[in-house]
């Protein structure tokens, strides 16, 4: 947030640079308040970061000898393993699996981003425009509900719909069509994932758009209406342009997650069906499977590092571009 400060305030701030009376004491209190959060972040966010070197190692867990200074096997291994440079990465990028999971992860995320954007902006506008305010709120509340159901629950719901004697097959039979088993039909799954994703997240994503739209200056709409603009023209020339900063901000965040699959969704929804691996293998699923298979940990570590680095680069780049074009739309 940028604010222009008057010279007087600037001078006042400069004056405060010296530690005033009681300020040291106050800062001690502040630091003690920060401690619990710092401990959490140290344990779960920062401590794993040095372990990234695993991605460059031929990683095999070793037992430290009794006279070793480091007695933790993990740390000992980390310090003593052979480095293979980018060997793990070059192995990763020549394997067939990698092509599949990269394609799947990126394509699914792009589809979720753009189709999801359409639905959530649409929902926000619909809820905002409806004349019956109570009903509008009720609809929105109902559409927000799926967000709170875990992917496991969604897996059960989906199972009841598409299993061999599920609702869809019953309807198909009633219409005289052959029943089908979607759990081994690869081509159906991209659509199922997109629908499931939209189903679960639209209500949630629309909240921010709705809040933004309700905050717009109503006089603009009044003026437009008086000039004879219909609802569609109003959307085209007022709502949409004003909504762009919000859309851009949320899309920057989404681009940063382009390498992150929704692990629970891709892992649970297919219900363990191996036949459709082509369609369900995303980077997180690959990492998990490699981790659990007990094979060389260097490969999943390399895949995970690749995922994080690409995510970081994407956010920083998109943000830099946005900052250049429209400084006040940038996230940081």
């Amino acid at each position: 947030m940028t604010t222009t400060l008057s010279n007087e305030t600037k001078r006042a701030i400069k004056k405060r640079k010296k530690w005033g009376s009681g300020e040291v004491k106050r800062h001690i209190a502040f630091f003690t308040m920060l401690i619990p959060g710092l401990v959490f972040m140290f344990c779960f966010n920062y401590m794993p970061m040095p372990a990234i070197v695993m991605a460059f190692q031929d990683y095999k867990l070793m037992m430290p000898p009794a006279d070793s200074f480091v007695q933790n096997p993990f740390i000992y291994t980390l310090l003593n393993n052979d480095f293979v440079g980018f060997g793990n990465f070059s192995f990763l990028f020549t394997s067939r699996d990698t092509q599949i999971f990269l394609r799947n992860t990126i394509c699914y995320n792009l589809a979720f981003m753009f189709i999801g954007l359409f639905f959530s902006v649409g929902l926000a506008i619909g809820v905002n425009e409806l004349r019956q305010r109570f009903l509008a709120k009720l609809y929105h509340t109902i559409l927000f509900l799926p967000y709170f159901l875990s992917w496991l629950i969604v897996t059960y719901l989906l199972y009841a719909l598409i299993c061999s004697n599920g609702v869809f097959n019953k309807i198909a039979t009633a219409l005289g069509r052959p029943t089908m088993n979607l759990y081994n039909q690869t081509s159906a799954w991209p659509l199922i994932f997109v629908i499931a994703n939209i189903w679960r997240y639209t209500g949630n994503n629309s909240i921010i758009y709705l809040a933004t739209i309700t905050g717009f200056d109503q006089q603009l709409y009044e003026a437009a209406a008086i000039d004879g603009a219909g609802k569609f023209r109003q959307f085209q020339h007022i709502t949409f342009p004003l909504l762009i900063p919000t859309i851009v901000l949320l899309q920057i965040l989404a681009v940063g997650r382009i390498m992150n699959g929704d692990f629970d969704m891709f892992y649970c929804l297919p219900n363990g069906a191996g036949a459709i691996r082509e369609a369900t293998l995303t980077i997180d699923v690959y990492v998990y499977n490699a981790l659990k298979s007990g094979a060389q940990l260097g490969y999943p570590a390399a895949a995970g590092l690749f995922q994080s680095v690409v995510g970081l680069i994407m956010v920083v780049t998109t943000n830099a571009i946005v900052r250049k074009v429209q400084p006040d739309m940038a996230m940081f």
Binding site: K25, R26, F30, T32, M33, L34, G37, F40, C43, F44, Y46, M47, P48, A51, I52, M54, N72, P73, F74, I75, L123, E129, L130, Q132, Y139, T141, L143, F148, L149, S150, W151, L152, I153, T155, Y156, L157, A160, C163, N165, V167, K170, W199, I207, A211, E222, A225, K231, T246, G256, C268, N271, V287, L291, P300, A303, G304, L305, S308, V309, L312
Partner: protein, 317 residues
Amino acid sequence: MTTVAEVKKHAKKKYKDMNELSTAANTAWHVILIIGCLCCILPLWIVISASLTKNQALVINGYGFWPSEFSVDAYTFMFTGGASMGTAYKNTIIATVSGVILCTISVGLYAYPLSRSDFRYTQIFTFISFFTMLFNAGTVASYMVNTQILKLKDTMWALFLPMSFSAYWVIVMRTFYKSNVPESVIESARIDGAGEWRTFLQIVAPLAIPGFATVALFAAVGIWNNFMMCLLLNNDRTYWNLQYTLYSILKSIQFLREMASAGSGSGASVATTAVADLPSESFRMAMAVASMGPIILAYPFFQKFFMKGLTIGAVKG
């Protein structure tokens, strides 16, 4: 005689009528949104109705909008059959409650100095938390640290500790303090001689209760619905949570067999008869209903906080 104000009021009313949706468009939106709502509710309804169907009927007739043969066998089986469901419920509740307490305390405290304009290191500590949103070490590194250094494998801790703090909630909370706790109040507390901790506990915290509630609810839903941590870290059945139990039930009928033999006590013959007429399909659905039950029941009360929390988080700064 009409005053200017009245004329204006009248004009405004007239404009409002003019700028309202036309009846046709309004109806169209209603239809679209009702279809959307049905898409959200019907699958839930199908699962609930399946859980109340007699298992044989469910296997023969398939899933439908209405139980073809009503029965509560699945629920009686669930509540009497073995300790697994009870364990899962107990673990999930303990994890959720502890996680929520830890999260509210740590996030509430971390965000407070960052919201204060007289804290000199706001930037660096904001960056420390923001960076965790931008970059993470990846699943493998976290897994190794969690198992080898923090020793979380097969413990209750695994179910909530890794999810108890998030930089996103820090942003929400900081924005909440900034917009709902006026600096002048803090200033006057200081003039009255209160230390920072006392100001926070006695003045700021009571004002920030809606913010705490939002963060607590975010954390509660996150921990209640968490699946991956249990999948990665807890192989020991004693520490399975609801989501993982749901997963394992969906995967294996083996689980039901074990539950049946555990539930019916001694005697192998009793166990086999129990297995023969296991309400497996409807039991699965009853499990799903049981695990989403608390969320759906509480949902009407907490969704308002969520909408608010999400809107607060969207304000950048």
